[in-house]
């Protein structure tokens, strides 16, 4: 028989660590915002994001994407460290022992609560060695210049690359294959081993869409 008394002995039965009202705490008097562990958060106004895109475009032109991508990688490295520490402390289990669905829920809620839009993972290409990440309502895409012919969420691509590289312990690369700034409904990112994902960049230059790129990536894999 199941003993409820035993179940009740567990000290904390956790819920949503990243619930926005619990995670983000503000103090009107000091004007500071913090997360529930007391770490400082910063708010990026739209106008600042727009200015970053415009400023970089003026300063470094075509290299804007590379600069943002590298910023994203740094950001992602620290983001991963903090995410792992917070989640494993709250749920009292190392990340490696968490179920996939719990980890995924944490990541989704974390992404949303930080105001980065909504994120979802498509593991349908797992067998072929690729992971597709979908985001939408991205504030980075909203502030970026529109219809430039190239995806603009380089910072997010960098974050995802660093995050999943550390999570899997492999050197992964991330290429964005669809972007809200180009009129797509979602931003799509393909993650995989560097040499396998790299060809996607050339196909992207040719103007191929996400489905075609995925099909070709998987075909190259087989061949």
């Amino acid at each position: 028989m199941i003993s409820v008394a035993d179940l009740l002995k567990e000290p904390v039965i956790p819920g949503n660590y990243y619930a926005a009202d619990a995670y983000v705490q503000g103090d009107f008097e000091t004007g500071l915002i913090e997360n529930r562990k007391g770490a400082r958060l910063i708010a990026l106004p739209d106008i600042l994001l727009q200015a970053i895109y415009a400023g970089l475009d003026q300063e470094v032109g075509q290299a804007t994407g590379v600069v943002l991508f590298n910023c994203g990688r740094w950001w992602g490295k620290n983001f991963y460290r903090r995410f792992v520490a917070e989640v494993s402390e709250y749920y009292r289990r190392p990340l490696a022992e968490m179920e996939m669905v719990e980890f995924l829920q944490c990541l989704k809620e974390c992404w949303k609560t930080h105001g980065w839009g909504t994120i979802d993972l498509d593991v349908g290409f797992y067998q072929q060695g690729f992971l597709v990440v979908k985001t939408w309502d991205s504030p980075f895409a909203a502030a970026a210049p529109k219809n430039t012919g190239q995806p603009q969420c380089a910072a997010e691509a960098g974050i995802l690359e660093a995050f999943f590289s550390q999570l899997t312990g492999r050197d992964l690369h991330c290429v964005q294959t669809a972007c809200e700034t180009l009129g797509a409904a979602n931003n799509l990112f393909v993650l995989g081993l560097r040499e396998r994902v790299e060809p996607a960049k050339a196909w992207l230059q040719e103007g191929q869409d996400h489905d075609t790129i995925m099909e070709r990536l998987c075909r190259t894999q087989v061949a």
Binding site: I2, V4, L7, L8, I13, N16, A22
Partner: protein, 161 residues
């Protein structure tokens, strides 16, 4: 702080509260007392509430993996805790944000919807045995809200004959 009371405090900035406002205030205070006593009751009777639910659930699903049953029960215990707090705060969104948004995908992934529905029925029935009607009115709608969110079906409204 309850939003309803907060609103009254703001209203009272320049004037005395009107009779109607005082009535509203009194109503909230009384309701708060009832919420608090219901909360205390749920807190102090967690074991008595859940052990019969666990026993019946296990009888109903004898072939189910006990670990899965334990997991559903653990989630149900969490649900009642969060629901009790949401009741105390008079804020159903508390339950939605703090637990349900997170739990829904977990239940989906484990495909434990059927177990959940049974657990919800058993828990509601158990609470009906233990609580007065007024107390039931405070907590049961929150459990129905959870059921509707987690399993995706409209909550069944029970009609008292």
């Amino acid at each position: 702080m309850h939003t309803e009371l907060m609103n009254l405090y703001y209203k009272a900035e320049e004037n005395y509260l009107s009779n109607v406002d005082i009535k509203v205030f009194r109503h909230h205070i009384e309701s708060l007392q009832q919420r608090l006593s219901t909360y205390e009751f749920l807190r102090d009777h967690e074991l008595e509430i859940f052990q019969p639910v666990a026993d019946t659930l296990q009888k109903k699903y004898p072939t189910e993996n006990p670990q899965t049953l334990e997991q559903v029960l653990r989630q149900a215990i969490a649900l009642l805790r969060y629901a009790a707090m949401a009741m105390l705060l008079n804020n159903p969104e508390f339950l939605q944000h703090r637990l349900l948004e997170w739990l829904t995908e977990v239940v989906n992934a484990h495909q434990t919807q059927t177990l959940w529905s049974s657990c919800h029925e058993l828990l509601s029935a158990r609470l009906k045995e233990m609580l007065t009607e007024a107390e039931q009115d405070l907590i049961l709608p929150l459990l129905d809200q959870a059921q509707a969110t987690l399993v995706g079906l409209p909550a069944v409204v029970s009609v008292q004959s």
